[in-house]
C-alpha cells in the first residue's frame, strides 16, 4: 500500500488506521444512531460492544488453534508465536467480554452476573481455559518443547468449545432454574448495521493488535538471542 507521497505503509499501520476508523464509526453508530431497544432501553447498547468482543474472542481462539495445528504439522517455529499471540489477545478480549457481560447483567437484571445466559457461562469455561494455557506457557522453558506443548494444549481447547456450549445448554436446569427471556436476533436494519460495523471494528482491532504484538515478541526474541550469543565465549 502506498500513500500519495510514495511512502510504504505496512500491514500493522494499515490495520491500526482501519481499526481506528471503524471503531470511531462503530461508537458513533452505537451511541447516536441506533434506536433504543424496545424492552431494555438505552443501556442495552452495550450489547453492540459485548457480542462483537465475544465473537472476536472465539475467532482469535480458532486462529490460534489453527496455527497450533500448522506448527505441529510443519515444525515451522515461526508458527509458535503466530499461535501464541492470538491466544494471548484472546485472554484480553475475553476479559473485556466478561466485563461487558457483567455490566450488561447489572444494567439489565441488577446482578453482576447472569447465570441464565448460556453464552456467558460457556464463555467463562473457555476463559478459564485461556488462563490455564497461560499457566502452561509460563511453566515450561522457552524453546521447542514449550512451543509443542502450547500447540497441543491449544488444540485440546478446540474440543472444549463445543463441549462447553453443549454442557451449559444441557445443564441450564441446574445452573439457573428461572430463565429470563432475552430477545433474539431479530434486529432491524439499523441495528444490524451497527452490529456488523462494531464486529468489523473489533476484528480489525484484534488484527492490528496481533501485528503489533507479533512484531514486539519477535524483537524480544531477537534481543534475547543476541544477549545469549554475546555472553558465549568466542569460537
Amino acid at each position: 500500500m502506498e500513500t500519495a507521497n510514495g511512502a510504504r505503509i505496512d500491514r500493522a499501520t494499515a490495520a491500526a488506521l482501519a481499526a481506528t476508523v471503524l471503531m470511531a464509526t462503530a461508537l458513533g453508530l452505537i451511541f447516536f444512531y441506533v434506536p433504543n431497544d424496545a424492552s431494555e432501553g438505552y443501556s442495552q447498547r452495550i450489547f453492540y460492544l459485548h457480542v462483537p468482543i465475544a465473537m472476536t474472542t472465539y475467532v482469535l481462539f480458532v486462529w490460534g488453534a489453527l496455527n497450533a495445528a500448522r506448527y505441529l504439522w510443519t515444525g515451522d517455529e515461526s508458527l509458535d508465536l503466530r499461535s501464541y499471540v492470538p491466544m494471548h489477545l484472546g485472554t484480553v478480549f475475553g476479559t473485556l467480554t466478561l466485563i461487558t457481560g457483567s455490566l450488561w447483567a447489572q444494567i439489565s437484571w441488577g446482578t453482576w452476573w447472569d447465570w441464565s445466559s448460556t453464552e456467558l457461562n460457556s464463555f467463562l469455561i473457555i476463559f478459564l481455559f485461556y488462563c490455564a494455557y497461560f499457566m502452561l506457557r509460563f511453566s515450561v522453558e522457552p524453546g521447542e518443547r514449550r512451543a509443542r506443548y502450547s500447540a497441543v494444549y491449544a488444540l485440546l481447547g478446540v474440543g472444549l468449545i463445543p463441549v462447553s456450549v453443549l454442557a451449559v445448554h444441557l445443564g441450564q436446569d441446574i445452573i439457573h432454574p428461572i430463565t429470563f427471556t432475552r430477545h433474539g436476533a431479530n434486529m432491524d436494519n439499523s441495528m444490524l448495521l451497527t452490529f456488523l460495523v462494531s464486529l468489523a471494528a473489533m476484528l480489525v482491532l484484534a488484527y492490528s493488535m496481533y501485528e503489533v504484538e507479533l512484531r514486539g515478541k519477535r524483537l524480544d526474541d531477537r534481543i534475547a538471542r543476541l544477549r545469549r550469543l554475546a555472553r558465549e565465549p568466542a569460537g
Binding site: M135, L136, S139, A151, L155, L156, A167
Partner: protein, 227 residues
C-alpha cells in the same frame, strides 16, 4: 496399535501400583476426607439442599480425586529417564497413551468402589435418592473421559517444576462441562423426577465427551513425548 505391548504397559502400571501402593490409597483417603469436609462445610445435621447438594459434592469430589491420580507414574518415569526405554522401543506412542488411560481408569474405579458406599452412608441415608444405575453409568463414562484427558494433560505438566500445581490447573477447565452435565443427569433421576429422554441425552453427552477427548489424546500424545 500393538495389543501385546498395550497390555504389557497396562500390566506394568497396575503391578507397580499394587506393589507400591502409592496413589490409590492416597486417593481413597483424599476422597473420604473431602466428603467429611463438605459434610461439615455445607450443613449440620441435614445437608443444606438435601440430595441435590449431595450429588454436587459427589461429583466435585470425584473430579478432585481424579486430579490426584493424574501425575502418577509420569513424574517418576520422566525423572529416572525410564522414558528413554519406552521411547527407544518400537511401541507407538498412542499405545503408551492408551495404556496410561486404562490404568488411570482402573485406579479411579478402585477408589470409587470404596467411596460410593461411604458416600451413601454420609449423605443419602435420609431423603430421596437418585437412580443408582444411572449414577454408576455416569461415573464410568466420566471416569473414562477424565482418564483419557488426564493421560494427555499429565504429560504436558510432567516437565514443569511446579507440575503438581500445573496438572490440576490444566485439567480443571475440561472437568467443568463434565460436572455440569453429570450433576444435571444425576439430579434428574431424584424422585419425583425419573430417568427419561433427558437422561439419555445427558448420557449421550458424556459419551460424546469421551469420544472427543479420546480422539484428541490419541492424536496429540506423540507430540507430547517426542523430543
Amino acid at each position: 496399535m500393538n495389543g501385546r505391548a498395550f497390555r504389557a504397559l497396562v500390566r506394568k502400571d497396575l503391578v507397580l501400583e499394587v506393589r507400591g501402593r502409592e496413589v490409590v490409597p492416597a486417593m481413597a483417603v483424599f476422597v473420604l476426607a473431602a466428603f467429611v469436609l463438605f459434610r461439615f462445610g455445607l450443613g449440620g445435621e441435614t445437608l443444606a439442599g438435601g440430595t441435590r447438594a449431595a450429588v454436587g459434592v459427589l461429583w466435585i469430589a470425584t473430579v478432585f480425586t481424579a486430579m490426584l491420580g493424574l501425575l502418577r507414574g509420569f513424574a517418576a518415569e520422566r525423572e529416572d529417564r525410564l522414558w528413554d526405554g519406552l521411547l527407544a522401543s518400537p511401541v507407538d506412542r498412542a499405545s503408551i497413551w492408551a495404556a496410561r488411560t486404562v490404568s488411570l481408569l482402573v485406579f479411579q474405579i478402585a477408589v470409587q468402589v470404596l467411596a460410593l458406599p461411604v458416600f451413601w452412608v454420609l449423605f443419602l441415608q435420609q431423603g430421596r435418592t437418585p437412580s443408582y444405575g444411572v449414577l454408576v453409568l455416569a461415573l464410568l463414562l466420566a471416569d473414562l473421559g477424565m482418564a483419557a484427558l488426564g493421560a494427555l494433560v499429565a504429560g504436558l505438566a510432567s516437565t514443569a517444576r511446579a507440575r503438581e500445581v500445573l496438572a490440576p490447573v490444566l485439567f480443571l477447565p475440561f472437568a467443568i462441562p463434565l460436572v455440569i452435565v453429570a450433576v444435571s443427569l444425576t439430579t434428574g433421576t431424584i424422585p419425583p423426577q425419573t430417568a427419561g429422554s433427558h437422561t439419555v441425552t445427558r448420557l449421550g453427552f458424556l459419551g460424546l465427551y469421551d469420544t472427543v477427548f479420546a480422539l484428541l489424546g490419541w492424536a496429540l500424545f506423540e507430540y507430547v513425548v517426542e523430543e
